[in-house]
C-alpha cells in the first residue's frame, strides 16, 4: 500500500464495510509480534483531542498489574462540530475494532468496550452488526461490548466515560493526577479515540515506516478533519498532517478567504484568516495560537461575526456543564452573560469586557475536568482574533454580521437544565 490518501477512509461506500469487504480492502495481516515497537516508532498521537503519544499510554497500561484490563474505544464525539468518528464508524467499523484488538493484545486485555452516543441509533446499529460479524470468526479475539451513553459534551471525557461504564452516570470525576490509571470495574482501562484505534490497526498491518510516509516528523500520519461553516456541505476529509490550511479549505471547497477559522472544536481556538499558509499540525498551529484538537475546522466568512458565534457557543457550553464544580457551573454562564452584553452593544461595554477578561482568569484551572478551561481558551482567542470588532461592539456599535440571521457555527439547541440526561 503506497503513501496516498485515503487511509482510514479507504474503500468507503455508501454503507459500512462488512467484515469480508474490510478484509479484502486491507489484505495485509496484522503482525503478531513487535506491535508495541511499531507503534512507538510510528509516533502516533491520540486523535481525540489530547494528542498524547499512543504508545506511551499503551506502555503505561502494559505495566499495570491487574486482571480484567479493558480497552475502551471512545467514539462519544461530544464535540458537536466533529463528525469524524461517526463517519469513520459508518464507513468501516471493522478497522476501528481491529485497532482495538491490537491494543487489547498489547496490554493483555480480554474485553473491549466500545462507547457511542445512544442518540445516534444508526451508528449503534452498525456497531452491533460489526461486533456480531466478528463473533462468527474462527479466531476468537477479545470480547466486544457495546455501550451507548447519553450524548453530552463532557460524556467523551475520559473520567466521565469510565464513570458511565462503572456507575451509569456520564459525569467527570476528580483526578488528582493524570498518571493515575482509570479503572473499569477492577481492571485498568486504556481509553483511546475511535480514529486513533483505526490508525493503530493500519500501523499493525503496514508498519511505522509506512505510517510516517505522510505527515510531519512531530505529527506523523494522516488525520480526519471535520470541515464545517462556510462550505457547500459539512464534510469529513482525511488529510496528511502538515498540509497547509489553505489546501484543506480548497480540497473541501470552503470559502478560500475566510475571516477566521475555529480550530479544534468548541473548546479550541479561533485563528485569523491571514494564517492560511500555516501547516495543519500541532507544532505549527500552536505558535499561532491554534490547535488540531478533535480535528474540527469551522470556517467563518467575512460576512460573519466572530463575537456572535462565540457567544452562541459559550451559551451552549455553559448549559453543558455537569454543574459539579462551582467555577464552571456559575462561571460559564457569567461569561455567556458578558458576551451577550458586549454583543448587543449595551452600555458600559469596556467595563464588561474587562470583567470578562478577569473572569476568564478566575475560572480556569478550577474544575474537575477541562471543560471550563476549553471555554476560557476559546473566549480568549476570540478576544484576540476579533479584537477590533469586539471593541466596536463594546462602544455600542453592532457589526453587520451580528445583525444577520445567518449563523456559521452549528450549535445544538439548548436543552433545559431539568431535561439534561446524564444517566
Amino acid at each position: 500500500m503506497n503513501a496516498t490518501l485515503p487511509r482510514v477512509l479507504l474503500g468507503a461506500t455508501g454503507r459500512p464495510l462488512s467484515l469480508a469487504e474490510h478484509q479484502s480492502t486491507f489484505t495485509a495481516p496484522v503482525r503478531s509480534s513487535g506491535l508495541l515497537e511499531e507503534l512507538e516508532a510510528s509516533g502516533l498521537t491520540g486523535r481525540g483531542g489530547g494528542a498524547f503519544p499512543t504508545s506511551r499510554k499503551v506502555s503505561l497500561l502494559r505495566s499495570q498489574r491487574g486482571h480484567g484490563k479493558v480497552v475502551v474505544v471512545n467514539a462519544m464525539e461530544g464535540e458537536p462540530e466533529a463528525h469524524k468518528d461517526r463517519t469513520l464508524l459508518s464507513t468501516n467499523p471493522h478497522l476501528v475494532l481491529d485497532g482495538a484488538e491490537c491494543l487489547a493484545t498489547m496490554i493483555g486485555a480480554k474485553t473491549v468496550a466500545v462507547c457511542v452516543p445512544r442518540d445516534n441509533q444508526t451508528v449503534v446499529h452498525y456497531l452491533k452488526r460489526a461486533i456480531y460479524e466478528r463473533t462468527l470468526r474462527a479466531h476468537k479475539g477479545p470480547t466486544f461490548e457495546l455501550h451507548a451513553a447519553p450524548w453530552r459534551y463532557v460524556a467523551g471525557e475520559e473520567s466521565a466515560l469510565v464513570h458511565w461504564l462503572n456507575d451509569n452516570e456520564s459525569l467527570p470525576q476528580y483526578r488528582p493526577s493524570k498518571a493515575h490509571v482509570l479503572r473499569v470495574g477492577r481492571g485498568p482501562a486504556l481509553i483511546d479515540n475511535a480514529e486513533t484505534c483505526a490508525h493503530v490497526a493500519l500501523i499493525g498491518r503496514y508498519g511505522a515506516a509506512w505510517f510516517r510516509e505522510l505527515g510531519t516528523d512531530s505529527s506523523p500520519g494522516s488525520a480526519l478533519v471535520s470541515l464545517t461553516g462556510a462550505v457547500d456541505r459539512p464534510k469529513v476529509l482525511e488529510v496528511s498532517l502538515g498540509t497547509p490550511l489553505a489546501a484543506i479549505l480548497d480540497a473541501g471547497k470552503a470559502d478560500p478567504q475566510p475571516q477566521a477559522l475555529l480550530t479544534g472544536g468548541y473548546g479550541g481556538t479561533w485563528l485569523s484568516g491571514q494564517h492560511l499558509d500555516v501547516p495543519y499540525a500541532n507544532e505549527t498551529l500552536g505558535p499561532v495560537g491554534a490547535m488540531v484538537g478533535t480535528g474540527v475546522l469551522v470556517v467563518l466568512p467575512r460576512s460573519g461575526c466572530g463575537l456572535l458565534e462565540t457567544k452562541r457557543v459559550v451559551d451552549w457550553m455553559a448549559n453543558e456543564s455537569a454543574r459539579q464544580c462551582g467555577p464552571c457551573a456559575f462561571g460559564l454562564p457569567a461569561l455567556a452573560e458578558d458576551l451577550t452584553h458586549l454583543l448587543h452593544g449595551r452600555p458600559d461595554g469596556p467595563t464588561v469586557l474587562a470583567r470578562l477578561v478577569e473572569r476568564c482568569g478566575v475560572i480556569e484551572g478550577r474544575g474537575a475536568c477541562r471543560h471550563p478551561d476549553g471555554v476560557v481558551r476559546m473566549v480568549r482567542s476570540a478576544l484576540c482574533v476579533f479584537a477590533e470588532d469586539i471593541e466596536r461592539h463594546a462602544q455600542g456599535a453592532m457589526c453587520e454580521g451580528s445583525k444577520s440571521n445567518e449563523h456559521w457555527v452549528t450549535v445544538p439547541s439548548i436543552v433545559h437544565e431539568d431535561e439534561l440526561v446524564w444517566q
Binding site: E145, N166, V184, G326, A329, F330, V421, Q423
Partner: protein
C-alpha cells in the same frame, strides 16, 4: 449487675434527659444554620460549625449519663440491652424503644463523624441525614416516657424543642440547594434515576442511588 435504688438516679435520668433533648435540639438548629450557609459577616460560618460540633459532644455526654442512670436504676427495670435494641425493655417497651432508636442513630452519626476524614463524604452525609429521625424519635420518647412531660413545664419544654426542630426541618427543606451545589447529596429522600433507555450492557457495579 448493679441495680441501685436511689431516687437520685431517677432524678438524674429525668434531668439529663431533658438537658440532652435541649442540647440536641440546639445542635440540629445549628446544623441547619451551617447547611444554609448562615454567617460570614458578624459571626464566622466556621464558628457555627464548631459550635455545632462541640455542643453535640456535650449533648452526647448528657445522653450517656441519662442512659446509664436509667439502666442502673432498679426502679425502672429496662434491662441493659434495651438501650440499643428496641422493644426489649420490660418497662414501657415502646417508649424505651423510641429512646433506643434515637440513641442508635445518634451513635451512628457520632461514629461516622469521628471517622469523617476517612470515609467517603457521601457515606457520611447519608448517615448524617438520620439525625432528623433521631430527633423525632427522641421527641416522641420524651413526650411518652417522661414523667415530667405530664407537668406543664415539662410538656412546654418538649413542645418548644419540637417546634424548633420542625422549624429547622422546614427551613432546611425550603432553602435546599437547587443548582450546582448539592450534587453529591445522598439524602434518603433523593429521587431515584429514571429507568429510561436501558444501557446496552449492564453497569459493571450496580450501585444505584
Amino acid at each position: 449487675m448493679i441495680a441501685l435504688t436511689s431516687p437520685y438516679l431517677w432524678y438524674t435520668t429525668r434531668a439529663t434527659g431533658f438537658v440532652a433533648l435541649i442540647l440536641f435540639t440546639l445542635v440540629v438548629a445549628l446544623g441547619t444554620f451551617v447547611a444554609n450557609r448562615i454567617g460570614g459577616t458578624y459571626v464566622g460560618r466556621f464558628e457555627l460549625n464548631e459550635l455545632h460540633r462541640s455542643i453535640s459532644m456535650v449533648a452526647i455526654v448528657f445522653l450517656m449519663v441519662h442512659i446509664l442512670t436509667t439502666l442502673l436504676d432498679s426502679y425502672v427495670p429496662t434491662g441493659w440491652i434495651s438501650a440499643v435494641i428496641p422493644l426489649t425493655s420490660k418497662y414501657e417497651p415502646v417508649h424505651v424503644a423510641l429512646g433506643a432508636v434515637a440513641f442508635d442513630l445518634i451513635l451512628a452519626v457520632w461514629v461516622s463523624s469521628l471517622l469523617k476524614a476517612r470515609i467517603a463524604n457521601r457515606s457520611w452525609r447519608f448517615i448524617h441525614w438520620f439525625s432528623w429521625l433521631a430527633l423525632a424519635s427522641a421527641l416522641a420518647h420524651s413526650v411518652l416516657t417522661g414523667t415530667d412531660s405530664r407537668s406543664s413545664w415539662g410538656l412546654a419544654l418538649v413542645v418548644t424543642c419540637g417546634a424548633v426542630v420542625l422549624a429547622s426541618a422546614l427551613w432546611r427543606y425550603f432553602a435546599r440547594p437547587t443548582r450546582a451545589a448539592g450534587r453529591t447529596a445522598l439524602s434518603p429522600l433523593s429521587v431515584a434515576p429514571l429507568d429510561g433507555d436501558a444501557p446496552e450492557q449492564p453497569a459493571r457495579r450496580d450501585r444505584r442511588r
